[in-house]
Symmetry: C2
Subunit: 382 residues, 2 copies
Amino acid sequence: MKGTRADRRSFIKGSLIVAAGAVLHNAHGASAANVQERRAEPSKEPRLLFSVIGINHGHIHGQISAVTRGGGRLVSFYAKEPDLAADFAKRYPQARAARDEREILEDESVRLVLSAAIPEERAPLGVRVMRHGKDYMSDKPGITTLEQLAEVRRVQKETRRIYSIMYSERFESEATVRAGELVKAGAIGRVIQTVGLGPHRINNGRRDPWFYDRRRFGGIICDIGSHQADQFLFFTGSTRAEVVASQVGNVQHPQYPNFEDFGDMTMSGNGGTGYVRVDWFTPDGLPTWGDGRLFVLGTEGYIELRKYVNVATELKGGNHLYIVDRKQARYIDCNKVPLPFGPQFVRDVVERSAVAQDQEQALLAAELVLKAQTIATKPVGA
Amino acid sequence: MKGTRADRRSFIKGSLIVAAGAVLHNAHGASAANVQERRAEPSKEPRLLFSVIGINHGHIHGQISAVTRGGGRLVSFYAKEPDLAADFAKRYPQARAARDEREILEDESVRLVLSAAIPEERAPLGVRVMRHGKDYMSDKPGITTLEQLAEVRRVQKETRRIYSIMYSERFESEATVRAGELVKAGAIGRVIQTVGLGPHRINNGRRDPWFYDRRRFGGIICDIGSHQADQFLFFTGSTRAEVVASQVGNVQHPQYPNFEDFGDMTMSGNGGTGYVRVDWFTPDGLPTWGDGRLFVLGTEGYIELRKYVNVATELKGGNHLYIVDRKQARYIDCNKVPLPFGPQFVRDVVERSAVAQDQEQALLAAELVLKAQTIATKPVGA
């Protein structure tokens, strides 16, 4: 899925030069800039050099794609698993295979390290990266314990490096980006609440053992739910938030006793409230990996995103946005919405700005899901 | 009491002869029979005579319609508000206006009393009705305090009368009835969780003062959320359940200080878990009163109901069902699904059966929302 998306993105990149209609975006601040950024081919003079350490999840390709789109150049990588490293080398022949992690950490030309290591290894790696004076972007979940979180916060403040967590269901989702623009423009009034539903396909038989061990991925709310926690904070504009209640369980996978296949949580923040449900029960009859939804309830309207599929309609693919406001109900196809994250993030690294992702918000989202895992009750029968 | 029972027996004997359509129940479960029953005009020999006490909410018309469809005949009514009574009399010229409540309670020909009084008055009335040997059907919410609930349970057990609560978003919703049939047939495996979203239009300026006073309607989760609590119990098959957490608040209506415009709750039962969100924020641009949704997540598939509107599509009206199972994703228009509740309920009253509504389940749904109101936290800023 992510690979497909990356392919589509590079296709769009080439074709946008033709898309003169994009000038229309000028009426609307942010978008116009994004179109410019998106048109830019990776320049021969890259804006920064970056490396990858840890490639246990395919999300790494989306991360690389975003940073490359922003003008970064992948120069080296390290993976301790020879089979994963071999596949990666084929896909990115321009990247040098480092002998070990240290070779990358000590390479002063490298400004940024990306990782999609096994989740429990991401935060310790990020701490080492920041201590070597580099910025860091982790796949989500970026942190799997509250102890790791405390250490990340401490070292991040000490080193003033970026500890980014790639919440791709916001940053790399055109519909979510558009929803953010609409909410910011006041299209639905003040946001009251978000509901995020995150079903995923389990693909048993094609997952590594760590996938089924909650200690290694942090639990289902930590793993999948971190996307929805991030979107809750972003859409409600909350800078403080607490978990009201949470539940996790293993409803239907007794063969994996350390797995969690269902979780939910309610959050309350200073900007609104939020509910998240995540699960591994996407049925085979769905044409994609998950029918992810986001509902944003405002005082003057609401938005629903059908992020990856619009079940049993003629509207194929994802990025379906529905908005109802005081005047009307509308459908908006968001597939052509520019994705600002990659370019913004690269600029943040180079210019020491903080546009792409709010550092506190990224870590607060992690805190919420980690607390949710800690206090979660177990549904009967799970 | 003895005399009443004997009268009822001879009455039942007479009325059952008329209901020949009921024989179809033997061939093909509920549905075939229901079609017959739904087609049937109110017979000249009604299956039972019923009355109405309390008409403060328009839901009373749906209640009357369901019982009439089942073969009941409305014979009398009482409302303490002369203006409401006058309108009602015009709409139901066949119904005698009683001088007072007592005239109806003491009318031995009346087997059933319906009420859509102000919510806080419904349970005390129901207790009086049961104590007079009659069955009772309340609009939802059927009970507004835990003390009322205890009394209802006690008197219901003592008198063995029916205390029905008309959860119309299940009983009178074709899509929900169809979803129930699908779930019962195993179409999505074992149910894991339900999510019910219940937005409503507030229609300020067209509501009576009691509408804005939580003591009188029981609070937003008690009022609106009782529908979703009922559906949670029904779809998960839970016979025991607890509230995990709940929130209520007045986010945007400071002019009504005793109002609640937002609420949510998480429940956990012995058959699954459930989440409910209710609010009074339906925006004017929606062509109906609320974009009510129900998601039923199963181990082998899921169902989504768009109960009253399918936003920004060509599918007009309500009763839209989407189901994804192991093989495919499908849309089902449920508008022609028969509604069994009315006929089943009348038969329950006449034959002392319990098909239309499970008595314990009806009261457990009330218990859940009342407990949720009691323990609810307040979102920041609400």
